[in-house]
């Protein structure tokens, strides 16, 4: 039942990242339904509305000044006048919306949607999330001005914006290099360096074969609306860098005097971490690497368990997990994608893949000048089925550790809802033993978000034809 792959009918932010240095998200409310529909139809056209059109998956002849895409919430589809019997064909988690799924996502306590700032405090009025990608601010402003003026200024109300920018290549707050692993698709050839199993297109696009043999996700109806669409979990994740770095200090101090310290770092191996680096500083890096599953420079622990600077270079993506792996079972990347490693849910290897598009917000944290500025990640977690991918990873793997009895009952060390009194995480040592770290707080808080549907180009045109 797979549909054809037609690049110019797909939004371009699904299968590949644009790799721009800035992104601005406009959080929009449909103010005038008819004017908004006309605008959607216009941006779906190749020539666009006054020059603004959706960036599609079509190959570029020259790199555009900016890229532009839209996602619609369930309330947005309703506000645009999608008929009730069509709305009913969308999946429950999308219909209910992200705030209703808080318990599954770990959004309680300081992440509780009740604490989210505007406009996320009124999810019913959040209809469209438009994203603008560029390398400079004037282009972001230009597109924003265009949207503010849509339909003679009547179509849409800008209820808020969020802006992210890269400050050091692919490095995110907490100092890790991100944006390394992504599902690989047979039809996309832009990142030959990624060496992972191929994912079927149905991992992200509705109407295509999924990664479960014989299983199909429901395509929202009618077909022109649902086919080639994709769901997205947009998340604003505030990161407490000071708490994270402080915890690395604390854990490194403990490891320095731990009876197994030589199995954490062989005496004399400090030099592998850099010229003149202290044992304490090297131990900090080891803790950070174990929590993530990658050294902060991106090198996977699975291939280089003892140093971020292996003598002969290792692949960043071509690895798997075994019982002897140097990567702890509870590390963030292993939790969120156990690859081919043994897991409890035997059919779930490779079936919960997410396409991730994230960019940091807030300036880099300077430990010499501590501040209270909010900083974090503007994350997009894309998949054809939010329940199977984003939610399943969040609740059973990140927050519960159900995939392996050794970590069950513990939270993801980097982003889980951890409490110092109860948190624990097992580092795996070079001799196969482990050391349990405790006492770490929650480093990441949710500060907003929404489930959106990224419609295909024909779907935008379909929306433009609605009446009433």
């Amino acid at each position: 039942m797979s549909v054809a792959f037609i690049p110019h009918e797909l939004q371009g932010n699904i299968l590949r990242g644009y790799r721009r240095s800035m992104v601005r998200y406009l959080l929009l409310e449909v103010a005038d339904r008819q004017a908004a529909r006309i605008w959607l139809g216009a941006i779906a056209a190749r020539e666009g509305a006054d020059g603004l059109s959706i960036t599609t998956e079509s190959a570029w002849s020259s790199k555009p000044d900016f890229c532009f895409n839209v996602g619609l919430t369930f309330e947005g589809l309703r506000a645009l006048g999608v008929a009730p019997d069509s709305l009913q064909t969308f999946p429950t988690e999308f219909v209910e919306g992200m705030t209703a799924r808080a318990a599954k996502l770990g959004d309680f306590g300081p992440s509780d949607p009740q604490t989210w700032p505007a406009p996320f405090d009124e999810p019913a009025r959040l209809h469209i999330i438009a994203s603008i990608y560029a390398d400079d601010e004037p282009h972001l402003d230009q597109v924003q001005a265009h949207i503010a003026a849509a339909g003679g200024g009547r179509a849409l109300r800008i209820r808020g914006t969020r802006e992210g920018r890269n400050f050091n290549g692919d490095v995110v707050h907490f100092g890790y290099r991100d944006n390394i692993s992504q599902p690989r698709f047979a039809v996309i050839h832009d990142r030959p360096e990624i060496s992972e199993p191929m994912a079927p297109l149905g991992t992200v696009l509705l109407g295509h074969e999924t990664s479960f043999e014989g299983l199909f996700w429901r395509v929202p109806q009618p077909d022109p609306l649902g086919l080639n669409g994709c769901f997205n979990a947009f998340r604003i994740l505030a990161q407490d860098v000071a708490a994270f770095e402080t915890y690395l200090d604390q854990a490194a101090e403990e490891l320095l005097v731990h009876r197994l310290t030589e199995h954490v770092l062989k005496p004399g191996d400090e030099a592998k971490f850099g010229q003149g680096i202290s044992r304490l500083a090297a131990l900090r890096e080891i803790v950070a690497a174990h929590m993530c599953g990658r050294w902060r420079n991106g090198v996977p622990l699975a291939l280089s368990p003892d140093t971020p600077n292996p003598q002969s270079p290792v692949s960043l993506t071509d690895f798997d997990y075994t019982a002897q792996s140097g990567c702890p079972v509870g590390a963030h990347v292993r939790r969120s994608n156990p690859r081919g490693g043994k897991i409890v849910q035997r059919i779930e290897n490779h079936t919960r893949r997410l396409v991730r598009r994230g960019i940091p917000y807030g300036g880099p944290y300077d430990p010499t000048r501590p501040d209270d500025e909010e900083r974090g990640l503007l994350g997009n977690f894309l998949g054809a089925n939010l329940g199977t991918q984003f939610e399943a990873i969040s609740c059973d793997w990140l927050n519960l550790g159900l995939q392996d009895p050794q970590i069950t009952g513990s939270n993801d060390p980097l982003l889980g809802a951890n409490e110092p009194a109860t948190s624990w995480f097992d580092m795996s040592l070079l001799n196969g033993a482990s050391i349990r770290l405790r006492g770490f707080p929650r480093f990441v808080r949710t500060r907003g978000g929404a489930y959106t549907f990224l419609p295909s180009i024909p779907a935008l045109r379909y929306l433009a034809t609605l009446t009433g």
């Binding site: 599954k104 849910q345 609740c395 519960l400």
Partner: protein, 232 residues
């Protein structure tokens, strides 16, 4: 301070136990309330808890009304289970997160009671992916079952379908129960059993009373298997 009960207080207290009052309550009062204040049936199954260990050993009480409730229809259901039981159990083993599962006939209902770890949707989805094709034969015997088979092609609808037939789990503690149903939080006085709960039970006649007892809480299937050395 306890005040002396007057004859009128005593009459009011005794009223609910009189035949006449019970008759009026059942046939007039509750239906009238229910019609005036429609109550949405509470969703079935457990709720995810903040504490990770509380999300293990969840209970599913799936009640599926048979299309044919006669002894013949019930016999057909018994046969359908017997014919597929090996495959279903092998499948549940592969799902990996199921502690116990059993099938029971209660009146005109085929029931599946199971204890599983983690999130409900993931459990059912894994179940479909593992043994959906076998389960279709059973769902075909159930009222409104035809709309969701083959379940491999109706994954989302099937999960919602099962969710809707999984019994609502009344909170474990009387205090939580009273709180959830907006009672004036005042002890365990059953006379205060709130109207909302009565209306809920009117809308939702079968419920699970609490989430159940566990002899060894906070362990997953895989943890128990690992501790017993039987492989996971």
């Amino acid at each position: 301070m306890e005040s002396e009960a007057t004859w009128f207080d005593r009459l009011v207290d005794a009223l609910p136990n009189t035949r006449l009052f019970q008759f009026i309550a059942e046939w007039i009062l509750v239906p009238y309330w229910a019609a005036r204040t429609p109550v949405k049936p509470q969703p079935g199954g457990p709720r995810m808890a903040p504490q990770p260990s509380e999300n293990l050993q969840h209970m599913m009480n799936l009640i599926m009304p048979l299309k044919d409730k006669s002894p013949i229809g019930r016999a057909k259901a018994a046969l359908a289970i017997a014919q597929n039981v090996d495959e279903i159990y092998a499948g549940l083993n592969n799902v990996g997160t199921v502690h116990f599962a059993r099938f029971v006939l209660v009146d005109g209902n085929l029931c599946m009671f199971s204890v599983y770890d983690g999130d409900f949707s993931n459990y059912i989805r894994d179940f479909i992916a593992t043994i959906g094709s076998v389960f279709n034969a059973i769902v075909a015997l159930i009222e409104d079952g035809d709309a969701v088979i083959p379940c491999e092609h109706h994954v989302e609808a099937f999960i919602d379908w099962v969710h809707a037939r999984d019994l609502y789990q009344v909170p474990d503690l009387a205090t939580d129960l009273l709180a959830q149903h907006n009672a004036a939080a005042s002890g365990d006085d059953l006379r205060l059993l709130p109207r909302d709960l009565i209306l809920q039970l009117h809308a939702n006649p079968n419920v699970s009373l609490g989430s159940g007892y566990r002899g060894y809480p906070a362990f997953s299937v895989a943890q128990i298997r690992q501790k017993l050395g039987v492989g996971w």
